[in-house]
Symmetry: C2
Subunit: 343 residues, 2 copies
């Protein structure tokens, strides 16, 4: 599954995004310019720029689910666009909350225009996302369906905020359990992937029972996806991930492998990992010590098993859905490719 | 018009707000706790606290407009609640964007829990605001009406973001015109007051023509209200405003009186005010110099005239509305009291 095969969808998503951002008068134009910078269309001088575009994964999943349920995916474009803008609003605010100066080697919005404009630009993008949902009426969907989609995405947004709350709170806690971690990534990662598929299915005319199955596919996909991200953050090849080696260790992120090793270590006579993670960011010399602790606890195998378990749950949930072709084949290939990233 | 006369409405608004915030499980409870702290119900240890509550002005205006149009104001409570949460979300983010450590002599959310939780708590409150709008369906409003309210509030939110963008951008600009300033306060202050009245009128069954008149009342009220705020920020009595004397001068805020004086001064041989405002915050010794410049330019009289002009426009717009009693009398008294703050 290459991105080229999905260009039918991504081209239309890009067009819909550009149309949604076509707003503002001469005075407020730079506000929309900062959003376009974030989306990769403009440079920091707000001049046209051929930047790296996102994979638009979530809106593609939305459109494929719509098509698989027998819907006309083009009519679902405002929802797909809303989901991508919701995702990108969270990235703009996450970069502020994590104090990240770069995203994919490019200065983040707050880094270029300051904290105040960064927060406000994220807010404005979220507003555009909601307006895009509400514009589904113009595609001929009845008001009750539009309200259902709006409610689903708003409940998802609140779940994202709850996940983000936990993620921030965990940074200063030494006693995060594996269950708490799963609860956090359900909010931060799984909720939106699940919502993308459910919104598409809803607009495609799926029954409540089908909607639940689509939700399960998205939830399992999200959990597997995040755990693989956690594995790549420690053992990933910098040439493949585009991040520095062991980046999550250097930032002392308490991801799944670390939490499993901390839990294992709690039963042992000495606790070197706990000591290493007691004091914020780590330096390069400490990385081999952390890796040694993870090896002792067999953390890589544990994380791989967990990812495989959620991957299998996703495949099974997908198999229960009697969707139409070729969307189902594309969905199976796309989700598999997401979970087969190398490390 | 005392706040006691409005307690019929404010008590119900408070109840609706508390119900909307009754969310979250044991893990995410502190996220909702931080919102309750902001609303004055909890202290910084998230314990019950009898704090200063907001005036709930915007939701009260919404309910009065609904009642004046012949609607049952109690059914409009979810919308009133949504408007108050939208307003408070903007306050939480504004405090971050303005780097304000205190609000009404109380530590701001970001000041107590850090920048990251501050941004995220604002986001979560905005999400609750939207969910409250969408819950209007449970009050028996048809889906199309609920969508109309959601659209109106979302367009208003985007106007708020545009106004906030301009406000932040003006801080570092020396050439802000009076027209640009009016455009900014239309977004930052007038848009939400106008929306509060229009949403109430819409839920009360107003015609499109009536809606436009309500919007005009809110817009003029907002402009007059903000200009009076600007006057108080320079000449207000600290005992009445609760802020330090000449607080806007000390923060070098480019409010209406300052911009008028700068414009006047541009036609003069010397420009002392421009020099004073060229370098960020001012100190106490510079305040008399600024006041002298404002006196030369007759800025207080100018600002008072502008406030009076918008006040009169509001009265005239209100007079065109054939609303029912006693709501209209209450609205006239409430809006007049807002514009008769002493300075």
């Amino acid at each position: 599954m290459s991105l080229r095969d999905l260009s039918l969808y991504t081209n239309e998503i890009e067009r819909a995004l550009r149309q949604t951002l076509r707003r503002g008068d001469a005075e407020s134009a730079p506000l929309y310019g900062m959003m376009q910078y974030h989306l990769g269309w403009l440079d920091r001088n707000l001049q046209l720029h051929q930047g790296r575009l996102g994979k638009r994964l979530r809106p593609v999943l939305c459109l494929l689910a719509c098509q698989a349920c027998g819907g006309d995916w083009r009519r679902a474009l405002p929802a797909a666009c809303a989901i991508e803008l919701l995702h990108n609003f969270t990235l703009i605010h996450d970069d502020i909350e994590d104090n990240s100066a770069l995203r994919h080697e490019r200065a983040t919005v707050w880094n270029v225009w300051g904290l105040a404009q960064g927060v406000n630009t994220g807010d404005a993008m979220w507003s555009l996302s909601r307006l895009s949902v509400l514009s589904l009426s113009a595609e001929g969907y009845d008001a009750a369906t539009v309200l259902d989609v709006a409610r689903l995405l708003e409940e998802t947004s609140l779940a994202l905020c709850e996940g983000q709350y936990l993620d921030i709170a965990f940074e200063t806690r030494q006693d995060v359990t594996l269950d708490e971690y799963l609860r956090m990534i359900e909010g931060k990662t799984a909720a939106l992937l699940s919502a993308a598929l459910r919104v598409g299915a809803l607009l495609g005319g799926a029954s409540d029972e089908q909607l639940a199955a689509w939700g399960q596919v998205g939830r399992s996909l999200g959990l597997a996806f995040q755990i693989i991200d956690d594995i790549l953050g420690i053992w990933g090849d910098p040439a493949v991930t585009g991040k520095s080696a062991a980046s999550d260790i250097l930032e002392a992120k308490k991801t799944l492998p670390i939490l499993q090793a901390l839990a294992w270590e709690a039963q042992q006579p000495t606790r070197p990992l706990s000591a290493l993670y007691a004091g914020g960011a780590l330096d390069e010399r400490q990385v081999p010590l952390v890796l040694e602790c993870l090896e002792q606890a067999d953390s890589l195998a544990y994380a791989q098993q967990q990812a495989a378990r959620h991957h299998e749950a996703m495949r099974q949930a997908l198999a229960t859905i009697d969707g139409s072709e070729p969307a189902m084949t594309t969905l199976r290939a796309l989700t598999a490719s997401l979970l087969e990233r190398r490390y």
